[in-house]
């Protein structure tokens, strides 16, 4: 069995598409049936449209990539008008990612997204490194607590707080958002990073800096999931450089109840399907009946 629970959300399997790497599901649905995924997390929306950062927005780096999309999105109204209906028709779970500058903005977003019926859960993006403002909440324990508390009051749906790795102590932040009422935490978002062109002596990204994702960040993400697992009781969704079933299982062993696949979608759009299959095979090989038995099963060396 590969079914897992995140808050009140039941996922047919623990593998979802990460926010910002899968649009609203439309493009990849043309390539394969995305209903096979445990869930999709949609591109973060904000109350007002955001134009995003100037190009280049993408650059490849050793075993990873930087992006500086800058939360480009057409805003809440457009989401409700053009995205909500097609999302409702999906059989897979839909987790709508939101970000905002103020608690007030986030309350409006959650309220209207939940009443649209398009979302099975909300992921609160506390941590985009490419914009000034909303990113702050993920770095400051008290700000994170306050924001999550406010959003919690406004929404009945399962609420997931997505954390930034750009913090001194991930356990402390995870604990704070748990106390504030989050049903789960997802981590990690991208690392603030840079790439430089020595010919032009300019940063490669139009925005100068961006967020690092892909295999390069996996070891750090694993450690952060492990730290969070040892600090909170709510489910953890592991994210960061997951390319294969092996990667996903490593996260589950470190305490993740589910995983999100981001950058891998660009390289192999069907990566998530292969990961689901691989997890099932692994369970069989290890004579386990239920993926839930794997969560946090990591056995520390005896001292």
């Amino acid at each position: 069995m590969v079914e897992v629970k995140i808050g009140r959300l039941r996922l047919a399997n623990p593998v979802m598409a990460a926010s910002g790497t899968f649009g609203y599901g439309e493009e990849y649905n043309r390539l394969f049936d995305i209903n096979s995924l445990g869930a999709i997390v949609t591109k973060t929306i904000t109350l007002k449209p955001r134009i995003g950062n100037p190009p280049p927005r993408i650059v490849e780096t050793p075993s990873g990539m930087l992006n500086s999309i800058g939360l480009e999105n057409k805003g809440l109204d457009d989401f409700l008008k053009t995205r909500a209906q097609p999302l409702k028709r999906l059989k897979t779970k839909v987790i709508v990612s939101i970000a905002g500058e103020t608690a007030q903005e986030l309350k409006i977003l959650t309220g209207r997204v939940s009443s649209s019926g398009a979302a099975d859960a909300i992921e609160l993006n506390l941590s985009c490194p490419n914009v000034k403002g909303p990113g702050m909440a993920a770095r400051d324990v008290e700000a994170a607590r306050k924001i999550v508390k406010a959003v919690r009051k406004a929404v009945k749906l399962t609420l997931i707080a997505k954390l930034s790795p750009n913090v001194t102590d991930i356990a402390e932040i995870a604990k704070a958002v748990e106390d504030a009422g989050a049903d789960a935490v997802s981590l990690i978002n991208t690392f603030p990073a840079m790439a430089v062109d020595i010919n032009t002596q300019r940063p490669i990204l139009g925005n100068a800096t961006g967020g690092l994702s892909g295999p390069a960040i996996k070891p750090i993400a694993l450690k952060m999931v492990w730290d969070a697992y040892n600090a909170v009781k709510i489910p953890i969704i592991g994210i960061g450089g997951i390319m294969s079933a092996q990667d996903a299982i490593e996260f589950i062993l470190c305490g993740a109840s589910a995983v999100q696949v981001g950058t891998a979608n660009f390289i192999n759009p069907k990566a998530s399907l292969e990961i689901i299959e691989g997890i099932e095979k692994y369970l069989k090989k290890k004579n386990l009946k239920d993926v839930n038995e794997l969560i946090g099963r990591l056995r520390i060396w005896p001292r």
């Binding site: 990849y28 993408i58 490849e60």
Partner: protein, 262 residues
């Protein structure tokens, strides 16, 4: 759009750092149009990590051909791939050229403007246009020097009138391709012309200014660094006059020149 394993039929050096690759890909070949592109996994490992986009260069039955220049690690690895090996391809992607083919007016002239590697997609377009011999096909190829001029014979074989320019004068007229274009336009009825172009951004920008001044419809194929290639990541923006960004992979790579905020 499909994700398939294609077989390399051949992969040959045809110019300085320039390779021509033929792939057996019937399902993609059936659907792909000139100006569209394929997103190629250069190796089976994660080195390089991301796919690399290449325009359709030619279509031959169930085979698709690409023409590429080695500029970095991805194309370098691709150049070392051997015939018989499998390559993971995603495509067809994007919107192609929208050539005006229907009319029988023999006064019409279609002008293809290719700077450097910009010849790659324009050969595919010439191939398509040559099937309907209704209009005069004129091709301008420009590059820095003689050795960088590609596909001259291919265009001629497709019935096009080809004119060459090089910046150092080592072949054809000396100077910029836009000077050649200005010269050509002065000899034609510009009301009846259409331009299709691909090449460096600076060239496309200059060319679109010319087209705009003379009110000639002009379509350009743009490039931007890409991740997903399908419109899902918002990683490949180009600013349009309306003030917003469009995605080169999904809304392009072919755009009406007048739409772009050069």
């Amino acid at each position: 759009m499909k994700q398939i394993k294609t077989k390399i039929i051949s992969n040959r050096l045809i110019g300085p750092m320039c390779y021509h690759m033929v792939l057996e890909a019937p399902s993609v070949a059936r659907a792909i149009k000139p100006g569209q592109f394929i997103h190629v996994r250069c190796s089976d490992s994660f080195e390089p990590l991301l796919r690399r986009p290449f325009s359709l260069h030619r279509k031959n039955g169930g085979r698709i051909e690409i023409l590429y220049k080695v500029v970095g690690s991805g194309t370098e690895i691709l150049s070392r791939r051997q015939s018989g090996e499998a390559v993971d391809v995603l495509g067809p992607l994007g919107n192609g050229f929208a050539p005006k083919l229907s009319t029988l007016n023999s006064q019409l002239s279609t002008i293809l403007v290719a700077g450097g590697m910009g010849v790659a997609p324009l050969v595919a377009l010439a191939q398509e246009l040559s099937k309907k011999k209704t209009q005069k096909l004129r091709v301008l190829i420009g590059a820095c020097s003689k050795s960088r001029i590609l596909c001259e014979e291919e265009f001629r074989a497709l019935g096009a009138e080809v004119s060459i320019s090089t910046e150092d004068g080592s072949k054809g007229a000396k100077g910029l391709i836009t000077d050649r274009l200005n010269f050509l336009l002065s000899t034609l009825n510009s009301q009846l012309s259409t331009i299709y172009a691909c090449g460096p951004n600076a060239m496309l920008k200059a060319l679109s200014r010319i087209a705009n001044a003379k009110r000639i419809p002009c379509q350009v194929s743009l490039e931007e660094r890409m991740a997903c290639g399908v419109g899902a990541c918002l990683g490949c923006p180009v600013k349009v006059k309306a003030g917003e960004y469009k995605m080169v992979c999904k809304d392009g790579p072919v755009f009406d020149a007048e739409e772009i905020a050069w």
